[in-house]
């Protein structure tokens, strides 16, 4: 492996926002309070459009929009005479951050008493024995204080053991595993620790929104390869073309949110081959690895020559329905782990101790737990998909995760947002318009994402409402 990046003398990273003047921000002007005239209050890598104030009460936490109150922070007009309601616009690279869609639809779901099949987290809880383990830890002196930054030793060991069981790879929990505050933080720590400004990182659209956000934070350049229905297969030629001499990493989420796709062995081999050819890192988000209905989950790290350049990310939350505990991890060879740990130690310093102890118990779950999990999710998936098909959606059956994408075109709406608004208001079912997950929103505007991480009754009720109220437009004869 040749040394491509000469890091002999770390320099202060160059951010493109450097010469940002007020004019470049577009219509909006900076919010200023009296006396902070002309100073940029918000750092250049995070600028955002002000939305009307969204109250934070009772909003399901995931993807909550930042409630922007009035733009004026001061007690009167801004010092440079600008009307106080103007605000900075989001810079181009952050423009695709659309956390608002999750909050918007959650709020609408509450307002219209809709069945919420939009939120991507369970409405049921994890197993009792794991909760008991957490309770036990809380009641044990010492287990409420700082854990070792990169994880309590038994958890690092348990993660290594599980990884070994699944991939055959032997990793050292002490030097190759980092425990983080959820997979979200694992992603942030990986990007901050390993990606430089100006580096190119390849993403597969549709993609989970935090990838783009953290890549924007480290000022990387995103190159997108779009997955399309019906199979969401990797377009290999497009993928090849995405690699350049500036490519630092490629990020793969498998099983994939929102399409439910599982990257196949041949797809992973193609990716692996390109990574090796271009000396590129692979970052894999495998949080849904246990929610597999069809095929087999394969960790890219287990392919030949890939372990030394792969960071495998996972978490407790999805597998054990405890998304609020924020326990995740990154598995990577020692030289990469170092960078991740550095970033992590200054991001959250340490991870919730009692929940780390509980995760040790979780990872010791018998195989039957996972079998039952798949069985239960399969049932929910089948109920939902059957219902969606009967109503008239074109459904793209997921191979994994608890999401399903469907084509809503038969219902005659302009785009996914309009469709989802109608769905929540008139039909009483909340779903997510996935165009927000695409680099080019038009690629996703004919689709809708449903989640089936809900108890069966909820899903049945959702299907019932769809059948009762969702109609295809009557075709008039020409």
């Amino acid at each position: 492996m040749m040394l491509r990046f000469n890091v002999s003398c770390p320099t202060v990273p160059h951010w493109p926002g450097d010469n940002l003047s007020i004019e470049r921000l577009g219509e909006g002007k900076l919010a200023t309070s009296k006396g902070i005239a002309g100073r940029r209050l918000i750092s250049s890598f995070l600028q955002f459009s002000f939305n009307p104030a969204v109250p934070r009460r009772r909003i399901p936490r995931q993807h909550q929009v930042t409630a922007m109150a009035s733009a004026s922070a001061g007690d009167g007009s801004s010092a440079n005479g600008l009307p106080k309601s103007h605000a900075p616009q989001i810079s181009k690279r952050l423009e695709n951050l659309k956390p608002t869609v999750f909050t918007k639809f959650s709020l609408l779901a509450l307002k219209y008493n809709a069945v919420n099949l939009g939120q991507g987290f369970p409405n049921f809880d994890g197993p009792e024995y794991i909760k008991e383990a957490a309770v036990g830890a809380i009641r044990t002196v010492g287990k409420n204080q700082y854990a070792r930054g990169h994880g309590i030793p038994p958890l690092n060991a348990a993660i290594a053991e599980r990884f070994n069981k699944e991939t055959g790879l032997h990793v050292d929990g002490e030097t190759e595993v980092t425990v983080t505050s959820g997979c979200t933080e694992a992603i942030a720590a990986t990007m901050i620790g390993l990606i430089n400004p100006g580096d190119e990182v390849i993403l597969f659209a549709p993609f989970y929104d935090s990838y783009e956000a953290t890549l924007a934070m480290v000022d990387a350049k995103i190159k997108t390869v779009t997955l399309r229905p019906p199979d969401f297969a990797v377009p290999v030629e497009e993928l090849k073309a995405a690699f350049s001499s500036k490519t630092r990493a490629i990020l793969i989420n498998t099983p994939h949110n929102p399409t439910g796709k599982m990257f196949s062995r041949s797809e992973l081999e193609a990716i692996a081959s390109l990574c090796k050819e271009h000396d590129v890192l692979a970052i894999t988000d495998e949080v849904y690895d246990k929610l597999v209905f069809k095929g087999q989950h394969i960790s890219l790290a287990s392919l030949e020559g890939m372990f030394e350049r792969t960071i495998t990310l996972n978490s407790l939350g999805k597998t054990f329905s405890l998304t609020g505990w924020k326990i995740g991890w990154a598995i990577a060879p020692t030289h990469l782990t170092w960078g991740i740990r550095q970033a992590h130690s200054y991001l959250t310093f340490a991870v919730a101790t009692p929940f780390q102890w509980a995760t040790v118990a979780a990872l010791q779950s018998p195989d039957s737990y996972y079998e039952d999990l798949v069985k239960e999710y399969s049932e929910r998936k089948d109920v939902l998909i059957q219902g969606l098909k009967e109503v008239g959606f074109t459904v793209y059956e997921p191979q994994g995760t608890y999401f399903v994408m469907a084509d809503h075109t038969p219902f005659g709406f302009k785009d996914d947002t309009e469709f989802c608004e109608y769905l929540v208001k008139e039909v009483g079912v909340a779903a997510i318009p996935p165009s927000v997950f695409y680099a080019n929103p038009a690629d996703g505007s004919h689709l809708v994402r449903f989640a089936f991480c809900k108890d069966v009754e909820t899903i049945k009720e959702g299907v019932k409402r769809l059948k009762a109220k969702l109609r295809r437009p009557v075709l008039t004869s020409s």
Binding site: Q62, D125, R139, N144, R148, S181, N196, L347
Partner: protein
Amino acid sequence: MAHFLADRALQLSSSNIIHLSRLAEKYKAINLAEGFPDFPAPIAIKNAAVEAINADFNQYRHVQRLCDEVAAMFERTKGVKINPETQVSICCGQTEALVAAVLAVINERDEVVLLDPSYETYEAAVRLAGAKAKHVSMDPPNWTLDFKKLESAIGSRTKAVIINSPHNPTGKVFSEDELAGIAKLCCKFDCLAVTDEVYEHLVYTEAGHKTLATFPGMKDRTIVTSSISKTFSVTGWRIGWAIAPEAISPAITSIHEKLVDSAPAPFQEAAVTALTVGSKYYLNLRAEYIERRNLICEALEEAGLTVESKPEGSFFVFARLPETYPLKDVDYVADLIKSAGVVIVPGNGFFHADSLCNENYRDRYVRVAFCKNIATLRSAREAIREHWRLHSSS
């Protein structure tokens, strides 16, 4: 394989404090290094956490009530009214709150002023933002702030000043005059202030602790960060917050969401209980810590060290090595681990190369934590006393 590491990761150095804790474990030494208590967290709070887990508050969650309680406590203790819906960001500990705050307001090539001796994570956060940290040294023996020095360090690129009070490692609590002086400079130079007030309830003087946000001109330019960790002895729960002006708070929340999405849900619930405990708890906490402070200061003096300024707050004492000790703080610390079985922190890590301080005291200080139960502190006292007795007689 350095070529795969981001430049910014290479700039950060591994935490000395964490490293020493591991050494202490290895030698099974009494750990007076890292700042976590070895006495239990209050039962009521643990019960609240357990109840939250059993009541199924285990998914991603925004607990508005926690923001409400943070705001209520802030008003109660600092006299500043804030809007809990628009000015509070709940984060994974104060560590993350500060990083999120820094990343929300600091641009690359901005400068941020820090006061030495200073806790390592501030500089790290500044570097993560691609900015430059400028250190201004406070002067022993009482760690007084020379305003001429401070003013000369602030320039056109200075975006913020970070103030930690009560202070780690010295235990200093910034006086009203000092805070007023800092406030004046912030206003004069139009910069922000980010404060770390995690030890806000561990204050031993009658004057008490004030927040910079209460000073003239500071309300709209101060970000206050704190947590439940030290106050309630739950450093492992990771619940902290940033209180900021309305124009900044959403940016902090936004960054936080992208870094970690949310703080652990059951502990957010438990934190609500924590923040509503009666005042008796705080009085008791203070009394307990005063007892420990006095014990440890005595112990250190008996061992030939000098406690130039008894800590007014926090649970650290910054003691000066015996004048007769010929070697450096790191040597003293290593010595103490091996022969006395007690681990403390060498002070030099808190002083930075660019701060204008007298070279000759950088390696003459050690930081000792007293957030341990009395029995532990007594054992440590015995061990240190013995070590000194043998050492000074040789």
